[in-house]
Structure formats: structure tokens, C-alpha cells
Symmetry: C2
Subunit: 701 residues, 2 copies
């Protein structure tokens, strides 16, 4: 459906210009110099007619007789709606709007963009932009942009929300290290967004990797689902910029204080199988590895170096990254020893010595690549006195063509070494100036393999009582409240099958004593009032009450204090609760993210969640498998398995809680925040009990 953006049979440039300073000139020039004019028709559109760069110009697309597949609009914004209308009348399916002055220019611009898109929708036109650099497809070849040139052909598709970054990326590519298949500057994303491109590019035979610069995504959930399917077919590497400052907005829950846009994107990328680059440099570094080398099938890396120092740096980087230094077979070591000089090291890292020419590298890579314990190879070179830089580069490239495992090069230096790097680049061996950057790329490759091999999530439907929850919400809202404390919260917890301590509401001291007798001593007494959320502040919680007298005294004192400290509060009485034995306190919560929706948290409870912020996140719905993964992701996860003789806790029960919370917040989008804190988790097999829950609904409109 988006094909006409990339392989149009004809292109109109609305705003084509004879003035070389104008963007409308640059676009036509790129269509010509990029080679499109040889395979398709280009129609410059200019009210004055005449010729543009030797091509006959037309006053309007309506004056062109043949059909037009793609229009590029580069006229001042006030004329854009009219041009769009004409595109519609002409039946043009795809329009790139380069013109700025829309959503990015404030309120009036946003209004202009809305109007423009209404016209497009009316005619069924798909739109890229406005406020973008244009579209490039080097295989067509089509350069429908005002970029400063056409990038080299290559196996990378790139989408950028920022046009300016696009220009920088193109400028890098022109220097030779990156080759693109498709290049799209998305601009304001009024219509075509990352989601459309991911869908299309997943099956693009001309690309091995999708590279994206993202500032924000429009429909969070759809983005995740689309990217997840696409990432099964092709690695997606993305930079997300614009990290919201933590704590910059008021939050009323623990989960809220932990969860920000940064956490939501981290969870979304993880769930979608997107490899996250933390800088533009990483984006390039990772994309080059994916583009030019086979996938890394394991995590055992061999290093071949001509010097100790860089070998140590590479080893450090591999160990820090969580990859492994491959252990060679004896066979491999013997073969290496037979060829290399005595002073060389035949173990990993293989040191072919400072006087090595290309032959030793070639031999070593050949032997090492056949070792079944090696999943990837790092070839490190420093320009020593006798080093054959170009010869080694050629040897590496030769081997690369024969072996089926990724080989990344680290040729260190610039003046002399550049000649070797040029050979590597030309022949598809990515070179990195420092071992750490190559190792980060290998790590990204390993991460991609893990993500790709994850099964697609299976969402469960747990049997719950939605009606009961609906009733609680209706009652709360009918009273003009949005915050739900623990007595009403318990009805919700019960309806969704959480285990909660046995609890009953007593409206008189006598009733409390009667309930306590039934539950069994000792008991906990808590004040019950919809107007008192922080019970401990008014002395509204007493634990360990041993007998009837204790209960009676506590009840009367609590009610007396509550009435005194919170005048006018509605006092329902006190709840009588069984004493829960001590377990491991954890927190399960949810905070609704503006872009991705329900962001569910798992964290250690107590003061540690506040201080160490040791939490992990998933966007609901998620699978049971994903819930299990959350447990392993907190830093203190070892605590769950028992330490210092403590027994392991009931992880199954935590997972179950996460699943039920996931379902609750998916079923009820009106829940904006939720904390189960603490969830008291007992020994394995003994379950978990939700001691306390708070919940906030959206304000009513």
C-alpha cells in the first residue's frame, strides 16, 4: 500500500523551481542525479510553466495527462491544502509534504495540519510529513528529497523523526561507511508513522536491518505489536530521544514515582524485540554489524590481535558485556601453534604478534572460525612497524566471505590504518575504531538473537468477576471520589482472585470482638473511613491485639481519634483483620503511561523500593512468560531464591499477582494508578497475600 512512495512510476514535484537556492530545485535535481529520471517520469509543477532543469513544467498536476504515483509538495504552507486537493482530484495515491509550518509551529500550525489531513483522508491519499526531508530508495533508484546527495546503496532501511538528524546521517553515509536501501524522514507523522514502515519493511528483500530515530510514537500498543512481528523477521535498532525527567510531575503512588516515559519505552522496546541504541553512535555501530554480517548464534567470542594491550581491552569489554571469551578445542590450539611463532599466544585471545603480516591473521581466523566453540570473531590490529595493514584487511575480507559467523574488525588508528579500513568497508566487514564499540555491537547481535527466539506472547484470560469491580467503581464515582483505599479495594482484590487477609468490617466494638473471635487472635484493627487514606497518621492501625479487651479498647480509641483529627470524616467503623505472618514484602503496581497505557511494575517492597528504585516494568497485557522474566530483572532477584539460609519465596504467586493485575488494568482503562504494597510473599508453595492496595481512577469529565 505504501509501494508508490518507494517505487512510483511517475513523480510530480509541486513547487519545482529553477532557483538553486530553493528546496524545489534540490528535489528535482535529486530525482535527476539519483537516476530516477531514467526509469520513471518526473513532472515539475510550477504555476509559471516553462522548464525546470531541462524538464517541461506544468502549472498543476491536473495538467499532466498521464497518471502520477507520487507527489512531493515543497510550496509555502498556505498553498499546501490547495495542492493536496488537486492531488486528490488527480488520483495521486502518495504525497510527501516537505513544507514546514504545521504541527511543529504551535497551535495554528496544528489546526492547519488537521485541515490538510482531512483533505488527504477525503481522497484516500497516504501522506509522509509534513515538515520532512523526503524519501529515498536507492534500489528503485528514487531520491525524492532535498538531501545534499544520494547515499550509497546498501542493506539498511532508516527512518528518522528528525529531518536534521537525517541530513547528518546522510552526510556520514556519503563518507562511505553506511549504505542505505530506503531512507524516510517522517517529519510530523500526520499519517505515515513508524508503524506503517515497520510493517512494510519487515518483508523488504533489499534490507537486512531497520534503523530508527524515534522521539515519540503515536499508538503505543499498536507500535509494540507491529514491531514485535517485524523484529522476528529483521533486526530493528532504534534510538529513543527525549527522556522525560523522572519526578517532573506530581504522582500519588509508589509505582507512579518509579515509572516514567523512560521506563515505558524501555519496556515497550523489550516487549517489541527492538534493540535499543543509547546514542546515535551506537545506532550506526549496531546497524553496520547487522547489515553486513551474519547473525551471532551464541555468545562465545574469539579475539585475534597483533598486540597484548588491545587484546586486554577487548577481553575486558567482552566480560563486562556478559558475552564470553570462547574456549578453544585442543585441536584449534594445536593448529594455531603449528603455524604461529613460539612467542605467539594460541589461546584466546590469540596474539599473532606485532610483526604479523596478513598470512598469520588469515590462518588464525580460518582455524578459529572452524572451532565449534566460537560464535563470533573480533579481529584487532594496531599499526606496528612491520604490520601489513592492507594485506591483513584483504585477508580478513577473504575469510569473511567463506565463514558463516560474524567477524568484526578493530583496526586502530587513522592515518596509515585508513587504507585498511577502506578495504574492509568496501568488502562488507564493519570496522570499529575501539574494541569496546565492536563488543557493544556483538552484544546487540546476541540480544537480537535472544529477542527473536522469544515465542510470541500468549495472553491469558483469567476467570474474574468484572461486575463486582464495576459496582465498586460506580459507587466510588457516584460519591465524586477517584481514590480507592483498602476497604473498597478489598472487594476489587477479591473479585480478581487475589488472596487477601481475612477481614471484616465492624461498626461497633462488640461486633469487632465477635469477628475477632471468629478469625482467631491475634488480630489487626484498622479504622474504616473513605475520608482517611493515611490511617497511621491518625493512629488508625493497631496490630497484634491479643484478646477481646484489647480489641474493644482499640476500637473506641480509634474512632474517638479519627473523629477528632479528621472532623466530618465518614467513619464506617473498624476493620478486623487476621495477622499475616511475615514474608518477603514486594510491590506490584501500575501506572498508566500516556503513550503505552498500563505500565505494570514489580519491585521489592518496603524502604528499598523507594531508595534503590529496584523495579522492572511491562506494558499490559503481557504473557505469563514475560511475567516470569520480570522476576529475574530486578537487581535483588537473588532475594527471591532465598539467601543466607532463607527459603525461596513463592515466585509462582508473584507471577500470578502480576497476571491478575495485568488483566485488571486492561479490563478497566479508567484505573490510572494502582499499588499493591506490600504483597506479602511466603515460602515456595505457600502463596502470597495482598496486604494493602490503593487505586486511583481517572477524573470524571
Amino acid at each position: 500500500m505504501l509501494e508508490t512512495f518507494f517505487e512510483p512510476k511517475s513523480v510530480a514535484v509541486i513547487g519545482a523551481s529553477r532557483d538553486p537556492e530553493k528546496l524545489g530545485y534540490a528535489v528535482v535535481k535529486n530525482l535527476i542525479e539519483g537516476g530516477y529520471v531514467k526509469i520513471g517520469k518526473v513532472y515539475p509543477i510550477n504555476p509559471k510553466g516553462g522548464e525546470v532543469l531541462g524538464l517541461p513544467a506544468y502549472p498543476s498536476v491536473l495538467d499532466v495527462e498521464d497518471p502520477i504515483d507520487l507527489a512531493v509538495i515543497v510550496i509555502p504552507y498556505k498553498f499546501v491544502p490547495g495542492a493536496m486537493k488537486e492531488c486528490g482530484e488527480k488520483g495521486i495515491p502518495s504525497v510527501v509534504v516537505i513544507t514546514a509550518g504545521f504541527r511543529e509551529a504551535g497551535k495554528e500550525g496544528l489546526e492547519r495540519e488537521r485541515e490538510l489531513m482531512q483533505i488527504a483522508k477525503q481522497y484516500g491519499i497516504r501522506v509522509i510529513g509534513p515538515n520532512c526531508l523526503g524519501v529515498i530508495d536507492t534500489f528503485t533508484p528514487l531520491n525524492a528529497s532535498f538531501a545534499a546527495g544520494t547515499p550509497p546503496k546498501g542493506p539498511i532501511n532508516f527512518m528518522s523523526q528528525s529531518g536534521a538528524l537525517g541530513t547528518a546521517v546522510l552526510d556520514w553515509s556519503l563518507a562511505g561507511e553506511l549504505g542505505f536501501s530506503k531512507f524516510v524522514s517522517l517529519g510530523n507523522k500526520a499519517d505515515v508513522s513508524e508503524i506503517d514502515l515497520l510493517q512494510m519493511w519487515a518483508d523488504d528483500p533489499n534490507a537486512n536491518v531497520i534503523m530508527a530515530y524515534i522521539e515519540g510514537v503515536p499508538s503505543g500498543r499498536e507500535f509494540i505489536d507491529t514491531a514485535r512481528l517485524a523484529s522476528k523477521k529483521k533486526p530493528i535498532v532504534a534510538v529513543k530521544s527525549g527522556v522525560t525527567q523522572a519526578g517532573s510531575r506530581a504522582v500519588s503512588s509508589h509505582t507512579g514515582s518509579l515509572a516514567g516515559s523512560e521506563q515505558a519505552y524501555a519496556a515497550a522496546f523489550k516487549q517489541a524485540g527492538i534493540i535499543r541504541a543509547h546514542t546515535m553512535e551506537q545506532l550506526f555501530d549496531f546497524a553496520r554489524a547487522f547489515a553486513y554480517q551474519p547473525l551471532l548464534k551464541g555468545d562465545r567470542i574469539a579475539i585475534i590481535t597483533n598486540a597484548g594491550g588491545p587484546g586486554i581491552l577487548a577481553t575486558d569489554a567482552i566480560e563486562r558485556s556478559g558475552l564470553k571469551i570462547a574456549r578453544f578445542d585442543n585441536e584449534t590450539i594445536k593448529k594455531l601453534e603449528s603455524y604461529l611463532p613460539d612467542a605467539a599466544s594460541a589461546a584466546n585471545p590469540v596474539d599473532v604478534l606485532g610483526d604479523a603480516a596478513g598470512d598469520r591473521y588469515e590462518y588464525a581466523i580460518d582455524v578459529v572460525s572452524q572451532d565449534p566453540n566460537v560464535d563470533g570473531i573480533l579481529v584487532v590490529l594496531t599499526p606496528q612497524a612491520l604490520t601489513d595493514i592492507v594485506g591483513t584487511a584483504e585477508a580478513v575480507a577473504n575469510l569473511c566471505e567463506r565463514v558463516d559467523i560474524p567477524v568484526l574488525a578493530v583496526f586502530m588508528g587513522e592515518k596509515e590504518v585508513q587504507k585498511g579500513i577502506d578495504v574492509l568497508t568496501e568488502r562488507g566487514v564493519p570496522n570499529y575504531p575501539f574494541p569496546e564499540r565492536a563488543v557493544a555491537a556483538l552484544r546487540a547481535m546476541a540480544d537480537y538473537r535472544i529477542a527473536r527466539d522469544e515465542p510470541l506472547p500468549e495472553y491469558e484470560e483469567i476467570d474474574v468477576d468484572r461486575e463486582a469491580v464495576k459496582q465498586v467503581f460506580e459507587k466510588v464515582r457516584s460519591e465524586g471520589r477517584v481514590s480507592i483505599g483498602d476497604f473498597e479495594a478489598r472487594a476489587i482484590l477479591e473479585a480478581y482472585g487475589f488472596k487477601i487477609p481475612q477481614t471484616e468490617l465492624a461498626s461497633t466494638p462488640e461486633e469487632a470482638v465477635e469477628i475477632a473471635g471468629r478469625i482467631g487472635y491475634p488480630v489487626v484493627l484498622k479504622i474504616a473511613s473513605p475520608d482517611i487514606l493515611h490511617k497511621t497518621d491518625v493512629g488508625g492501625v493497631r496490630v497484634g491485639l491479643q484478646n477481646a479487651q484489647d480489641v474493644r479498647d482499640a476500637f473506641e480509641l480509634m474512632v474517638y481519634r479519627a473523629e477528632r483529627y479528621v472532623p466530618g470524616a465518614r467513619i464506617w467503623g473498624c476493620t478486623v483483620q487476621e495477622m499475616t505472618p511475615q514474608g518477603l514484602e514486594v510491590l506490584v503496581g501500575m501506572n498508566r503511561d500516556p503513550q503505552f497505557g498500563p505500565l505494570v511494575t514489580f519491585a521489592l517492597g518496603g524502604i528499598y523500593v523507594e531508595i534503590l528504585k529496584d523495579a522492572t516494568f511491562r506494558i499490559a497485557p503481557f504473557s505469563r512468560r514475560e511475567a516470569w522474566q520480570m522476576l529475574d530483572e530486578i537487581r535483588a532477584h537473588a532475594l527471591l531464591d532465598g539467601v543466607r539460609g532463607r527459603p525461596p519465596v513463592d515466585k509462582e504467586a508473584i507471577v500470578d499477582t502480576l497476571m491478575r493485575v495485568g488483566q485488571l488494568v486492561t479490563d478497566f482503562p479508567e484505573i490510572v494508578e494502582l499499588d499493591i504494597n506490600p504483597l506479602m510473599v511466603f515460602e515456595k508453595g505457600q502463596g502470597a497475600v495482598a496486604i494493602d492496595m490503593r487505586l486511583v481512577l481517572t477524573s470524571q469529565e
Copy 2:
């Protein structure tokens, strides 16, 4: 004293060769082409005499009539001792040994190196190497190395333990971005080490920054003390490679399991004021900023950009780094608004827009640099359609010459942008291809300012009873033990003024009851035996004993069990201890590092230290100020100040404990490991009590 290495009046090359494939040829060639031959005498030494590269050769240094300041040895290792002897007889003060085959070549090589150094010492010769690349001083100019060329002159001094990395660094410098004053390949460091060079280079008028690649340092404490003084005068940026794998050796204490070579180097660099680069790339990035720009005086950064996307990336990076986005004066904003187009952003980050030529950048930098709220400026450029790349580079460079705050450039791209980068480089404005790398350099500059402004540490002498400790150690050793458990440990704790729970040894149940009565119930009873270190394993600890009967029963049961479970154990009886109220449990410990000596730890106690490894380190001795800093360095430091209504703990008491441990482990180098765990810390003003201590002495020889 090392001057003759860098500014010799004459140089002999022992092993000078006419064969261009030989290193002895390369050295002479560098002395000629590097310009030394114009200002000093070069004597090729070759047994065959004749000429080398047009210079008359001598069979031996002894045949040269005039004095020789520096000799460079490049002959096979078996001839090196003889040559060294001749250097001694000739009275040559400085010798660079390029020849390999010494310590790095195993046991025999080490022996050769020892013999060689004995000769050098005998004659009072200072030696660089062996197994090195040589020495360069571009100001002299002297290139006494076999490097592939002479690097450009510049304000950086570089020392490298790895010669091969040196060659890579030189190759980079030859491409133009780095300029060196002095360049030393240290090789095996048989004599001259980092310590000598730091001492000398601190006062080098030709260098603004010292850059180092370090694999290991010889005398840890001396290294710290020298580097600390040097770093007050000049920034030192270093990469430390070769991180020991954590947990690779057996350890018997908590501290031991936390502390490794990585932690020791981190602490040493911190105490020495060395700025740590984590990769070679960072080493270059940081060094360039220090070399060419004034110091960063605060942490408020202004961004000037011609595009939103990179502006966001830069903002993200600044916030993540802990630096601040500067808030401009209204005056500044007004001035910017008066010049920039309406659509530009006059707030920070300043967006001069995609069509900006050099003038807008120049104006904006000028105005922003005068704002007292700005400490540093980041100039970001993407190559958009109308961007004047070279003009902007010139404008930035012009401003840089006038302003007194650091300006770093981020010109993004390579093909077109390179022209601008070349202008920047030539005129001393460091350019970084990505905002994140520039921000990391600014962060390093901020870190240096903080480190430099730290007062020199004042070490305290606490009044303690060394004699008492000596006696305990003697007793322990006389019994053939190295491990000291809590009863003997208490004597040590008391001698060093730690607070410990009131404790007495009872040899009979009656005595225990009598002591308990004196201490006051409830009490704790523990089995006392030098052969039982893990008391709980044999039921040897009982807490909360309420009365005489409890104490009597516990005593008898404990002794019975101890005898049964550990047959033959020496049972001294039981200790009766006062019950310490619950406080915050922390750990103070020490592990002796092979390179730096006593590495003192502070960590949160309990299971959290094991699981979260939230610990910080200093090498003893350290100042009280440094001990205070340790408290702020653990991730959970907020816990010390009280959370959720808990009162702040007695930090003073923790600091005091750290100081006393520092003194204890400095006074007694025979202590190899020590744990005070837990140190129970009470509310502010209430002190802390060392509940338990274990200590291991060096094995006796």
C-alpha cells in the same frame, strides 16, 4: 632528573642499521626526520662502523669522544647487557631499551631483566623499557622511537604501558586531531614508571593534560600520592585495562567478596584525582577537551543547535550525566530574541533553526557566553540545505578565542561536514561526532574541577592501644592460627576504641548467671571457642534470655552441643552479652589489595550487601573528609538520613568506625581481611556498636 630523556644534547642509537626493515634504521630516521639532528648530535652505533643514513657510525659508545646524554638500544637481547655496561662506562645517564625478550617473555626473560637492571643501577643509569617503542618530545624536537612518524606538536603528554596501543595512538594523531608534547612508551617499566613521569610532567609547561594507558602500577601507595599532587596542577586522564574477574579467587570475608582489583583501582584513581576514561575513545575525547579548552568552572551547560533532534539528544545526555541545562538570564533571552527569527528558540537549548548561517551561531555564542549562568557551551550543527558549515566553524573558533569558558563542538556528519571539522580542529575547538561524547567530556571536566578543588587529605592519628592488639596477634600466631573470631576480636576492638556490647566470658553456668545479673536481662549467650567460627551452625547463639534459669539452661545445652558437634574443640565456656537494641546494620571491612594495600569498605549490612553489592571503597590511610564522602557514595545512602519517618542514623559514628579501621589496618599490615559485620548504628547522637568482627592474618612464613 629525567630531562636527558626528553632534551638530550646528544643521542646514541645502539644498533643503528642501514637496513630499512630494521628498527635500528627507523630510530635513526626518526631522529633525522623529526628534526633532532638539527639541534643535537646523533651517533649511530654499529660494530661495522661506516655510515647510517649519512651519519658516521661508531663501533661502540666508548668510541664517541663527546659526552652522550641518551642512548637508545635496539640490538638482540643477548647483547643488551654488554651495551648497557658500555653506556655505564661512558657515563650516559639515560637509556631507552627498545629490545624485547625480557620480563614479558616469561621466567628466563625476567631473569635477564633483573641482570640488566643490576648493571644500570650499578652505574646510576635511568632506564625506559625494555620492550618499548621509545620516547618522543615534539618541542625539543626529539623522536627517539621506531614509530611510523612524528606526531603533530600539541599540549598533550601521553604515556602508554602498551607499545602497540602507542602505535595506534600515533596513527590517530597523524590524522590530525591530537597533538602531543611528550610521548613515552613505558614497556616493562623496569625502572622509569608512571610515577616518575607524573612527577616530572606535573610541571611541564608544554602540556595541559596528561593521558595514560595503564595495565598495572608498581607501588600503589606511591602512585596515589604522586598522582594526587600532580593532578592538582594538571588533569590526568587514564584508562586502566585488565579488570580482574570478580570472584575469581577464594575469599573468606564479605569484604573480600566485594573488593577486587577493579574496586581498588576505582578507589585509587578517585583518591588520586585521576579522571578515569573507560575506553580508549573516552581517553581521546577527554584529553582533547582538557588540552584545547579552558576548564569548566561549574556544571551549567548551554546548547546552541540548528535542529531540534540533536538538541534533544544533547539535553538528554546532559541530564543523564548530572550536569545541568543552564537557565538563562532574561537579558540573554531578550538579546537572543532580538536577533534570531521568530521561529527560533531563545531558551536553552537555543535553536538557531535549520537555515542558520554562521552569523546566528556567532551571535548566539557571544550572547550566551556572557550570561553568568553559563559555565560551558555545546555547539551542535547538522548539515541542512542552507547550513554554512565552514562559516559556522570559523565563527565558533573566533568566539572561542575570546571567551573564557569551554566550548565543545558537535558537527554531525562526515562528507560535507569534514571541511568544518578541519577548521575547528586546526583552531583548537574539539569536535565530537555525537552530542553524548561531547557531554561525557564536559562531565570529565566537571569531575576534574571537583577533584582538583578537594583539599589534600589530612591523616589523623587516633589514640589507640597498639600493644594490646600486638599481644592478641602474638597469642593467635603462637597457636598456629590466622583467623580471629569474636571473643579475641573484642580485645582488638576495645584497644582501638570501638564501642562493643558489654560482654564477659563465663566458664560455668553459675558465673554466666552472675554476669547476666550484672549486665541486666535480657542477655545474649554465645559459645566461646577458638575452634568454632560459625557459632549458629552448632546452636551456639541464643538471644533474648530473660532470667537466670534461661541462662543456665542455655549454657549447659550449648556446651553439650559444641562438644558433640565439634569433637575436640577447645571450649572456653560461653560469653554473656548485653542485648543491643535494633539499629541500622552496616558493614565496615578491609581487604588487602596486592597493588594498593588496605582497601577499606563501607556497605549496608545484612542480606543487601550480598545481593546488591552496594559498597564503596577507599585505600587506607584516608582522611575524615574522605570517610564522610564514602557515606554518600553508596546507592542507598538516603537510608542513612532516615526514610518514611525513620530518624537519621549516627553517621558520625560510622565515620569514626571507618577512621579507626583505617588506622588499625595501617598499623598492622599483617591483617589481610577484616569484617565488622554488623556494625549496629543507632539514631543520630546515639553512636554505633560493633556487634561482630572477624579478622584474618597473613599466613606465617
